[in-house]
Amino acid sequence: MSSPWVYAARRLLLAVPLLFGMSVLIFGLMRLVPGDPAVAVLGYKATPEGIRALREAFHLDEPLPTQYLRWLAGALRGDLGVDFRQNEPIGRMILDRLPVTLELTLLATLGAALLGIPLGVLGGARRGSVADRTALAVGLLGVSIPDFWLGIMLILGFALGVGLFPSGGWVPISESLLENLWHLALPALTLAIGRAAVLGRLTRAAVLDVVQRGFVQFARAKGLAERAVLFRHVLPNAAIPIVTVLGLQVGYMLGGAIVVEMIFTLPGVGRMTLDAVLERNYPVVQSTVLVIGAMFMLVNLVTDILYGVIDPRVRRR
């Protein structure tokens, strides 16, 4: 029962009904849109022929369960239907934009870890010191700062003001890695700072918790240098909760990416979702929300499994 593999398998199995529930919720939600979805999608360009063609293309005349199963079966094969406005397969459009969102999230995660973990360790290792109080204050400010406003301020200061970074836009890695990173620096920082603050607060708490344990006091008592105590005894034990929270923050960033991609005009899945919402392009909204939701769930699932693998106590629950 306590093998990590059994635990991982059980977690995976639990994810299946959850994913099913998510798909039902999104499908149901999009069918709650008042009025005829065909008219909503076509907007002012709606003609009787256009509406009829759209109803047929989306099988809107079929009963809802049939429509749902058709959509689900397609989604499982990777076929999310066709965007009626761009006349492009939605799955293809998402795949084209996914690398942007993934790279942004990855860089932001790296930034959050590099900023947040040292901040928390510094504070937690010397409770009550100036470093600790500074870390606490920075952490509190960081979790309170709205990321969309932070993005605007970074543009104002570093792009429009000093001119160090571009204020938006995207260059693929295949074209130039340097240009790519240069364009992603401010967006990744925007997304990272709030998460770094959360991570810093938790790291501090985790370190504080470990520092009070008997084995740390013993290591100190036997004359081990403070630095060795920290790196050999405190940090490895504090790592488990830190990894977990980092995982949760990655998931959060997938949501935050929507706002950041909009501010920095990055062509990612988040921006695609927002554009579709503003255009009332429901077939696209339905698909992107499912994809982002599934990725969010996957990140949380991996974190959960990792947590169980690192810490055997979790598996017994």
Binding site: G21, L25, L141, A205, G256, T273, V277
Partner: protein, 270 residues
């Protein structure tokens, strides 16, 4: 700052903002809606410390009036979520077994989306408006509240004093209301403060993205969105509304931190 001072400062910020929002019309402020072209984009002065926007409206006055929407939406959403999520969590935690599964598994589905994404998806269906933002936020919050209440109930109902009351013949509603609910109230109070902070952030984000509060209602998110076009000529149009959001969120976060440490000294904040 000590634990007590963090709580106090957070509490004072929250009270001050709430009073300012409520009494906005009594304060000596310019009109938040009156357009005067000759004042357009005028920078901060002693009389108008936050400057004027592109239509010559007082940014300070608009910020304070916008707090009504911010705080109103956040409070309405938290109350609505308590009203729905509270009883659900109570039943799930007390009954366990099948009712627990029936209540909590569908709520897990809501929790499986990033909060902002779920809110945007809901708003895309609801349409825009302050009341609808509150409803969307309440949907996002309900599973969070239900989980907190359920956990508190699970922890409380095994206490000896609850067994004692049961042995003395107390009915289930009586057990719940006079013994279990009061003990679940403290974590819910902390959570409510956190939800206020998140609510102010998400309302501002939704309005900023164009799927939240509808203009001309003054909203901090909308002000930021408008200000973006004038960022270089009139940076005060984006700086002050953002600082205003941050101040309110900071106030509720400090209050939550302080309450958490106060109610659970073992959590070790200092």
């Amino acid at each position: 700052m000590t634990r007590g001072r963090v709580t106090l400062v957070g509490f004072l910020i929250v009270v001050a903002l709430a009073l300012a929002a409520l009494g906005a019309d009594l304060l000596p402020l310019g009109s938040p809606t009156e357009i005067s072209k000759d004042q357009a984009l005028r920078g901060p002065t002693a009389a108008e410390p936050f400057g004027m926007d592109d239509l010559g409206r007082s940014v300070l006055s608009r910020v304070i009036h916008a707090y009504r929407v911010s705080l109103g939406v956040a409070i309405a959403a938290a109350l609505l979520a308590l009203l729905i999520g509270g009883p659900l969590g109570l039943v799930a935690g007390y009954a366990e077994g099948v009712p627990d599964q029936l209540i909590m598994r569908p709520l897990d589905v809501l929790m499986a989306f990033p909060a902002i994404l779920l809110a945007i998806a809901l708003m895309s269906v609801f349409g825009t408006g302050a009341l609808l933002v509150a409803v969307a936020l309440a949907v996002v919050y309900t599973p969070i509240v239900a989980r907190v209440v359920r956990a508190a109930v699970l922890a409380t109902k095994v206490e000896l004093y609850v067994d004692g009351a049961r042995a003395l013949g107390a009915s289930v509603p009586r057990l719940l209301l006079s013994h279990i609910v009061p003990n679940a109230a403290t974590p819910v109070l902390v959570q409510a403060s956190v939800l206020m902070a998140i609510g102010i952030l998400i309302e501002a984000a939704l309005s900023f993205l164009g799927v939240g509060v509808r203009p001309p209602t003054p909203s901090l998110g909308l002000m930021l969105a408008d200000g973006r076009s004038f960022m270089l000529q009139a940076p005060w149009m984006v700086i002050f509304p953002g600082l205003a959001i941050m101040l309110a969120v900071l106030g509720f976060n400090m209050l939550a931190d302080g309450l958490r440490d106060w109610l659970d000294p073992a959590s070790g904040g200092r």
